[in-house]
């Protein structure tokens, strides 16, 4: 009995590393692709007639970095605000706001991000800020919804026992509610981040430079090679992040 448990623990590091293979593979592919400036001959096949077939206004690594930064900042804020709000309205003191917040969360989901962006620009001007705000607002919703669902799905008797055993409200939250809701919350964050990786490309239309730039420029100039370059990188980034989340989720 005991020895098998120990054996299992011994092989874990290797097994764990192997389980991260898929996300790491996507990541490697992503980094390789960011060096696709070298593949000029390939894109020449797509667009034989135009002068420039590789987007050169900024390096792909810089664009990728910008993209990750924008999504990262927006997602971090969305997690803090979204999880925080959902926790607040499931406490006795905030329970009055629960219907309001959960309603907002479900209505907001149906709101297209382009519309959020269109509304944000007049207020915040062009640049990185409006896209962060748009991503934050749009990304908030799956997180709030999932956190509410996760906390709400904890069986009443578990709550009853936790309180009855003499756990403080903070202990119930940290040791019972959050760990039990974690997979659902994480799934919400996953949805939010992956959607936002794609949505962030819209930032290029309001002057935030990221992987959306080649796509928008490509559309404007009718250059399919540019579009492919942006799209491939965004797709690979989304895949790498998404499979990373999948890995995290399956561990539980």
């Amino acid at each position: 009995m005991k020895s098998t448990a120990l054996d299992a623990r011994r092989i874990t590091p290797l097994a764990r590393a192997r389980r991260w293979l898929t996300p790491l593979a996507w990541l490697a592919l992503l980094l390789l692709s960011a060096g696709m400036g070298q593949l000029e001959w390939l894109f020449r096949l797509i667009e034989p007639d135009v002068r420039a077939v590789v987007y050169r206004r900024s390096g792909f690594f810089a664009l990728l970095g910008q993209h990750i930064l924008v999504v990262g900042v927006a997602s971090l804020l969305a997690v803090v605000l979204g999880v925080g709000a959902a926790i607040a309205v499931t406490r006795p003191a905030g329970r009055d706001f629960l219907p309001l917040v959960s309603q907002l969360a479900s209505i907001g989901q149906t709101f297209p991000p382009v519309a959020v962006l269109a509304l944000a620009v007049p207020v915040l001007g062009f640049g990185t800020l409006p896209i962060i705000v748009a991503l934050l607002l749009y990304g908030l919703l799956p997180i709030v919804r999932n956190t509410l669902a996760g906390i709400g799905s904890i069986p009443a008797e578990v709550h009853e026992a936790a309180r009855g055993m003499g756990m403080t409200a903070g202990q119930v939250l940290r040791q019972v509610e959050l760990p039990l809701a974690a997979p659902v919350i994480l799934a919400g964050i996953r949805t939010s981040v992956t959607i936002n990786i794609a949505t962030a490309a819209l930032g290029a239309t309001v002057g935030a430079s990221n992987l959306g730039d080649p796509i928008i420029t490509g559309i404007v100039n009718g250059n399919t090679a540019y579009i492919v370059q942006g799209a491939v990188l965004i797709g690979l980034l989304a895949l790498a992040v998404d499979s990373g989340f999948e890995r995290l989720l399956r561990r539980g």
Partner: protein, 313 residues
Amino acid sequence: MIELFDVTKRFGDETAVDGITLRIEKGELCVLVGTSGCGKSTTLRMVNRLIEHDGGEIHLDGQPVRSFDEVTLRRRIGYVIQSTGLFPHWTVARNIGLVPRLLKWPRARVRERVEELMRLLGLPVAEFADKYPRQLSGGQAQRVGVARALAADPDILLMDEPFGALDPITRETLQHELRELQARLHKTIVFVTHDMDEALSLADRLVVMHQGRIVQQGGPIELLHDPANAFVESLLGGMDRGLKEAALIKVGERMLPLGPRLLASERIAYGASLSQALSVMLWHQVDRLTVVDEEDIPIGELSLRRLLGARAS
């Protein structure tokens, strides 16, 4: 010692508990019975302040429960519920060690205590310590629930239909274990159940509730013989009360020493109940049984007359 003085609880317009006065002595096992919705759970949960009472006073060892910090109070009171409420993301050992950890016991002492309790409740440490609640049977889960409640050695134990969801055989085993545990530990226990046989067999004192009030309280035999009204009588089993009483009396209390007569062919253990003895007589159509001890050695005999006669004597 737990004392309730004229305790009342209202939920909106509905009065769930209506002026209950009750005193449970130290070391006593008090069983609350009554029809569904009569306020048993509410009464229990007012003791550990999961529900705050609206009127009256509840005292523990002479101190009002409101004078304690509610978290401190609950850590001093064991609580067991029907659905166990084990934390699904924690192992058995971690679940049992919850309250000692909340009380900041040193880690080694927590582990020692957890293992002690697992042995006490018949859960082999090597087999169960690292299991998760979903890997347990109902009976095992309930044992873990009881162990968790006992972990910090509370004087008071509140048990709300703890064995309600178990099959009759597991339930009887756990009742038996609870009785043995109680004989050793002398906790003050408030126990809620719907099962009248369970109530009668466990109770030092039986409290019958109806619509938020106490209708009658007393020892099991006292209530069986002298029900205050038709409700108590029917709750306690109506015409079956004779058998229920017989179930509470051991053969050993009624047997006679072995006489000059031949041994009767059918045997009964001296620890069996009179209702079981009666059943054996009915089954074999005999009016005399040989009473044997644990080693199956005859130590006495029980006649039907002797079995029936006791009530008059």
